[in-house]
Amino acid sequence: MTNFTANDFDMPHSKTWCPGCGHFMVHKILREVIAEMEMAPDKIVFVSGIGQAAKLPQYIKGHMFNGLHGRSLPAAMAIKASNPQLEVIVNSGDGCLYGEGGNHFLAQIERNSDITVFAHNNMIYGLTKGQGSPTSPKGLVTPVQIDGVTNEPFNPLTVAIAMGATFVARVFPGNSEQTKKVFKKAIEHKGFALVDIFVQCVSMNKTNTFKWYKENTYELEGDHNQGDKIAAFTKALENDPYPTGIFFQENQKATFEENCAAYKNGDQPLYERNLDMKKLKKLIESRRA
């Protein structure tokens, strides 16, 4: 039944990404991972916002909710909460998730909504042609930041850890083996899983190139304790070079859906349920007293 290959998850449409764009690598690895995990397209909803990264769901077989710029996370949260039987996977960009969508990033972590977030972090606004993003390094010159970016770069990992996110990871797809492993664990994780992905934007960011990412990342040591928040935070502060891997994971915390009264007796999707007319009658009657 679920014997799909990575290619089966490809869509026939031509991709509008630039040749060499890092989003291709995520597209490939993600398809491989879900194929290996024996997932089926009709059990997954791919959610995104707007941006080059956010086009990914257009090119992968599954249900798709390609929403507004910055708003992928509320959409994903609501889809999961309306039908917990669906696997909900978000792919979007650094601008979308950490810029316009910053408040939703915080709020969905607070909920521990059971969704997986793949954040394509190319440290630039790709689709709108190269303005600084929240993760752009200081000094990066762009058409808006003409004398270089001056904002403190947003560190998605430290913030997610600070927020109490239950799965926090970073990968560099140049290290495809680790990337695959982390993707799998993120999808398997029950609760909010963040994977920040270092991808190159070959057209708009000439600083943070594939080569740069390669030279500036290293795998987290094997003895890193993923249950230790302070160790995770300490590692997440490192940036010369940047560690990759799973920084933090916690499995006990209930998810948003688990906390919903509606799912106390099972995860039957909302659409299958019907209004209990007797209860409604009773509720109305209660107002006669």
């Binding site: 909803v45 249900h63 798709m64 509320p74 909460a81 909302l270 659409y271 007319m277």
Partner: protein, 573 residues
């Protein structure tokens, strides 16, 4: 037709609300029709708030300026309300309040040592229950029912609290009966047995019940007066009706979640006020391009910006009508009665699902907070119409069809993939730049064809009163009861009311409908500064109401029956 207008005034947190709850419940059970209207400041303690409870022998649903009986909790409360007193008003007051009363004759003032009695019972707080007792005593209303209500209200706090409250109530009741007995306060209302069994709801509860009756099982909302009551009503009932409750991080999230929830098969409601809705504008447009159902309840209050958060207005019709960039359709309801609020909200879910567009229920603070008794909310005819389809493998979410509706699948139901997109897209939902065919067809579907469909089911306004009237009063939403009562009071047979409970779209025959009824003159009464309904009628119905026939109020106060009477006297001499 008779009624007594009782006003209880005091600081926020002083117990006005407690008195109201007891009164309204007990008087109804005793067979009196009631209508309660609140007005309050944007604060939690202090200030000057008041509740008007009208007690009557026939159904009443409007607010009057007139006060027959005023019970102020302190000097400020008295001053806050005194300009509504007349020579036939009565005042019950505690001499301890030391109110300097120059407006009333001695004979109008009834002194009761509330504080003293309350302290005797054990706590000044019992003054509230004493007041409730007095009023219920004035009407010789159902003492037993009162006991039950007090019990259920206070039993969480322990038996002694219940008992003290009952004691307080009883002493108040005795005082009330004595006052009536002495002739200091007269009324000749005869209780109506049928009322006993009536339903008591305010506008917010009617919307909430309508939502549940519409199958609502998801709400994501950010608290905002005066809409919060609907969120809280659904939360209170969330266990029984398996409703997902999400207090959203902001209103943007709330509507994005609403749209996504519908996508995934939920029946979701967004509920907010004008300022919160302003933030939903982009997501509304998302519903537009995704051809997503959505139900939105907007409880208006005076703006701009934070404005007067706890007051009332009808200022956001234009916003609701035109919110969202790009062009797509929507339906706007504006109930005039609690019954309408219930049925229209219920219906909103079905037609949102059927026509795959946002449907609005537009209310306001006056409406959501106003209580009255109604005989029935009949659910026997009510159906939850689920309009989504089971998908096949070749399913296309945005299929171009003859009737302009693309069957809506949901992920997980059937074998098809449901792919939706905020970009312009082809039938599959895939992003497109085809401007020669796909784009115009999709616009036609979303805008022109959808309009044809929803215009067909558009409901005519309700015409109250005679044909060929000398004066027809155009109005919408919450102002209906005051206008109806004023017209009734006028005893004139030549005044009609045209109440729009559906504002958009208007039915194709709207102009004909009105012209057929042949009003000599039309005026529009609206709680805004620009005559938003009048403008809407101009654009969409070719009906022109001249500027001087607009009766606009933008003070934040609701129209009272007297306000309308004044307008009628001026317009229909």
């Amino acid at each position: 037709m008779k009624d007594i207008s009782i006003v209880i005034a005091g600081e926020a947190g002083q117990g006005v609300q407690t008195v109201e709850e007891i009164l309204v419940g007990v008087l109804k059970i005793s067979g009196y029709h009631i209508c309660a209207t609140k007005e309050y400041e944007s604060r939690v303690r202090g200030g000057s708030n008041s509740t008007q409870i009208r007690v009557s022998d026939h159904q009443i649903t409007a607010f009057v300026d007139r006060i027959d009986l005023l019970i102020p909790f302190n000097v400020d409360a008295y001053n806050h309300s005194k300009n509504r007193l007349s020579s036939s008003s009565k005042l019950i007051t505690d001499p301890a309040n030391e109110i300097d009363i120059t407006e009333l004759e001695k004979s109008q003032i009834i002194e009761v040592k509330l504080q003293e009695i309350a302290k005797e019972i054990g706590n000044p707080i019992y003054a509230n229950t004493i007041i409730a007792g007095i009023i219920i005593g004035l009407f010789s209303a159902d003492k037993e029912a009162a006991g039950k209500l007090l019990d259920s209200k206070f039993n969480k706090k322990g038996e002694s609290v219940v008992n003290s409250n009952i004691e307080a109530f009883n002493s108040g009741f005795a005082i009330g009966e004595k006052i009536t007995g002495s002739g200091d306060f007269k009324h000749d209302l005869t209780p109506d047995k049928n009322v006993k069994n009536d339903i008591l709801v305010n506008g917010a509860q009617a919307v909430g019940l309508g939502a549940i009756a519409g199958g609502c099982n998801f709400i994501s909302a950010y608290p905002m007066s005066p809409s919060t009551a609907v969120l809280q009503f659904l939360a209170t009932n969330s266990n029984d009706f398996e409703i997902i409750i999400d207090q959203a991080e902001d209103e943007i999230a709330a509507l994005n979640k609403t749209v996504a929830a519908w996508y995934a098969g939920a029946r979701a409601l967004a509920s907010t006020s004008g300022g919160g809705f302003a933030l939903m504008t982009e997501a509304l447009s998302l519903a537009g391009i995704m051809e997503s159902p959505a139900v939105l309840h907007i409880a208006q209050r005076p703006g701009p910006a934070t404005g007067l958060p706890t007051r009332t207005a009808q200022e956001d019709l234009n916003l609701v009508l035109y919110a969202g960039h790009g062009e797509f359709q929507r339906i706007i309801f504006a109930p005039g009665t609690t019954e309408q609020a219930f049925y229209l909200t219920q219906k909103a879910f079905n037609i949102a699902d059927q026509y795959q567009i946002p449907v609005f229920v537009l209310t306001d603070q006056d409406f959501v907070d106003r209580y009255n008794n109604i005989p029935e909310l009949d659910i026997t005819e009510i159906k939850i119409e689920k309009h989504y389809v089971k998908t096949e493998a070749d399913y296309q979410r945005f299929k171009l069809t003859d009737n302009g509706l693309s069957p809506r699948g949901i992920p997980g139901y059937g074998t098809g993939l449901v792919r939706v997109d905020s970009d312009e897209h082809d039938e599959q939902g895939h992003i497109t730049e085809d401007m020669d065919y796909i784009r115009p067809e999709m616009v036609k579907k979303r805008f022109h064809k959808r309009f044809e469909l929803i215009e067909k089911i558009a409901e005519l306004p309700t015409w109250y009163g005679p044909k060929s009237p000398k004066l027809a009063i155009i109005c919408w939403g919450s102002t209906l009861p005051a206008i109806q009562e004023a017209v009734d009071n006028s005893n004139r047979e030549d005044i009609a009311i045209i109440h729009f409970h559906q504002l958009y779209p208007l039915p194709a025959n709207i102009k004909e409908f009105i012209e057929k009824n042949n009003p000599e003159k039309m005026i529009s009464i609206e709680a805004n500064a620009s005559g938003q309904l009048a403008n809407l009628l101009k654009v969409y119905a070719d009906i022109s109401i001249p500027k001087e026939s607009l009766h606009l109020r933008y003070s934040g106060k609701p129209f009272s029956v007297e306000d309308i009477t004044e307008i009628i006297e001026q317009e229909a001499k």
